[in-house]
């Protein structure tokens, strides 16, 4: 069982604002789903290698050349200045 405090901790990791009622509802639903996925405990997979991709992956290299129109991209940003996206101060 995960506690309300843990739910708040996870929301903080995910940078997701949850209202008081949302936290309560989320706690109930997450516990319900986690209880269901506990089913995997029935499987002994201690000697099994994990699969992250169904098809084996290889590194693919290419030149990193910009090919898209910068202004179109910047048009989607909420705030810009010259050729930059503007954000609130980080420090």
């Amino acid at each position: 069982m995960i506690s309300k405090k843990e739910v708040e901790h996870i929301a903080n990791l995910a940078k997701l604002e949850l209202g008081k009622k949302e936290v309560e509802k989320m706690q109930g639903e997450m516990n319900q789903i986690l209880e269901y996925v506990e089913m995997l405990n029935q499987v002994d997979a201690s000697k099994i290698a994990p699969t992250s991709h169904s098809v084996p992956l290889e590194n693919v290299y290419r030149e990193d050349n910009p090919e898209k129109d910068k202004s179109e991209m910047l048009n989607q940003a909420p705030e810009t200045e010259k050729d930059f996206i503007k954000v609130k101060g980080v420090l």
């Binding site: 843990e6 639903e29 996925v37 994990p50 699969t51 992250s52 991709h53 098809v55």
Partner: protein, 456 residues
């Protein structure tokens, strides 16, 4: 009349000058808009086509696109408040390839928010309605695409499948839906849900059309490092061996669906198909395994929606506060639930018990299929344990909703191709047969699907 056309009908009709490219497009656009009032299958329409295509193997074929695939200059909302006002700045590779062949985009279809759900009810634009019974869901998450094809609002549609999102709505609406092998179709330009599971694929009126679309969109794309060129294979269909997993016919499968599937298996046997029972012993672990892996990947993929570069942006008192507010406001309940679940499964102290464990079980699920495909060429089974359900019926119970995908998620985990072919009805609701084969054997699947289509 320009209606009920397949891809071949459109291409031939234009060649024979029975109608023009413009006439077909306008006729389909009008029908798509008219029927949309009732079905809510589209989110946006392509109003101003400037240059009509003049050549290509799909010249003048009008199609719809799930609103999670980018079409330059058109909105791409993912049915989310987060992207409600977003305009795509480039084309997905599959869109480029279809446009190059002269196909025309009619509009973008409705879906579950960020492709998360099983019913196309989780949409800020309202739920998609099932044309067979408006009180029922269309399936999801490519519900709008499936409806647009069944209702002749488009000739074909592009959808995407992470855990059943092409096959299950195809089954619920009575159209053909293909989830290609992982890597067969470039994912470039698809808004990511779970990157190791997502695949783009066609929803069509028949198997022939699905093959035509697949042949155009498949193959290596340098913009998706996981995409691969398929080898052509020839395969005789005289001695077809089919496995039917006993686990797919146990508890949970509704009687009406079971009867339709059993009937088609019998018909196939009469055609010389050799059917045998097989076992996929880890089947029951596929759904919990899927929900750990897909939510984990989704929580990482959706981190990009932070209100800085595009999409919804809500100002906070500082940068940090803005992230929280934007995500809290922009995402709907199901998306939040999955971000939370995924973040939990990846978090320190729980990673091994949940995420790593699920990855190991994923190996076992993949191995099950490999074992079975040593003995048989195909696996046949149901797409979903029940037909289209009533709207609202499963909305408040996430686990009950997830059960709709119990037979489809394992293919995404194993990377296998699968197609849903309409094979009958129960209580006037369509039922699809799922045909599964080994990786990159789509050609084989089309052959088997055509056989099934011809006897149903």
């Amino acid at each position: 009349m320009i209606e009920n056309l397949t891809i071949k009908d459109v291409v031939q009709g234009i060649k024979r000058k029975e109608f023009s490219v413009k006439e077909v497009f306008e006729s389909y656009l009008k029908r798509a808009k008219d029927k949309n009032k009732e079905l809510n299958s589209f989110i946006s329409f392509n109003e101003n086509i400037k240059d009509l295509p003049e050549q290509g193997s799909l010249l003048g074929v009008p199609f719809s696109v799930k609103d999670s695939i980018l079409v330059k200059g058109m909105p791409c909302t993912c049915a989310s408040k987060m992207l409600e006002n977003y305009q795509a700045v480039y084309n997905a590779t599959c869109i480029e390839r279809l446009k190059r062949q002269g196909a025309l985009i009619l509009g973008k279809t409705n879906l579950d928010e960020f492709s998360m759900g099983s019913s196309s009810e989780h949409s800020i634009f309202g739920r998609v309605k099932n044309p067979h019974d408006l009180e029922r869901v269309a399936g999801g998450t490519s519900g709008g695409s499936a409806v647009s094809v069944f209702s002749d609002q488009s000739v074909f549609s592009l959808g995407a499948d992470t855990g059943g999102s092409i096959r299950q709505p195809a089954s619920f609406c009575g159209v053909v839906g293909l989830k290609p092998t992982y890597g067969a179709v470039s994912r470039y330009g698809l808004v990511a849900h779970a990157s190791s599971l997502d695949q783009i694929g066609p929803l069509c009126k028949n198997v022939d059309d699905a093959e035509i679309v697949f042949d155009i969109i498949k193959g290596r794309d340098e913009k998706d490092s996981t995409s691969i060129d398929l080898k052509e294979e020839t395969f005789p269909l005289t001695e077809t061996k089919v496995g039917v997993p006993k686990e797919y016919f146990s508890e949970g499968l509704e009687k009406g669906v079971k009867e339709v599937i059993e009937k088609v298996l019998k018909k196939a046997e009469e055609q010389g198909v050799k059917i045998q029972e097989v076992s996929l012993p880890h089947s029951k672990y596929a759904l919990p395994c899927y929900y750990i892996i897909s939510t984990s990947e989704a929580s990482a993929n959706l981190a990009r929606f932070d209100g800085i570069r595009y999409g919804l942006s809500i100002k906070g008192k500082d940068l940090w506060d803005g992230y929280f507010k934007t995500k809290g406001e922009g995402f709907g309940d199901e998306v939040k639930r999955r971000i939370m679940l995924g973040s939990f499964c990846l978090s320190s102290g729980y990673y091994d018990a949940y995420y790593l464990k699920a990855q190991k079980v994923r190996t076992l699920i993949k191995d099950d299929f490999e074992e079975v495909f040593k003995k048989v060429d195909f696996i046949f089974g149901p797409v979903s344990p029940f037909p289209a359900f009533k709207a609202g019926e499963r909305l408040d119970d996430p686990l009950k909703m997830y059960l709709a995908d119990i037979y489809t998620v394992s293919l995404n985990l194993a990377g296998l191709p699968g197609i849903s072919v309409p094979v009958g009805k129960t209580n006037n609701l369509p039922v699809g047969l799922q045909i599964i084969s080994s990786p990159f054997s789509e050609k084989r699947i089309f052959k088997a699907a055509k056989l099934i289509e011809s006897i149903c």
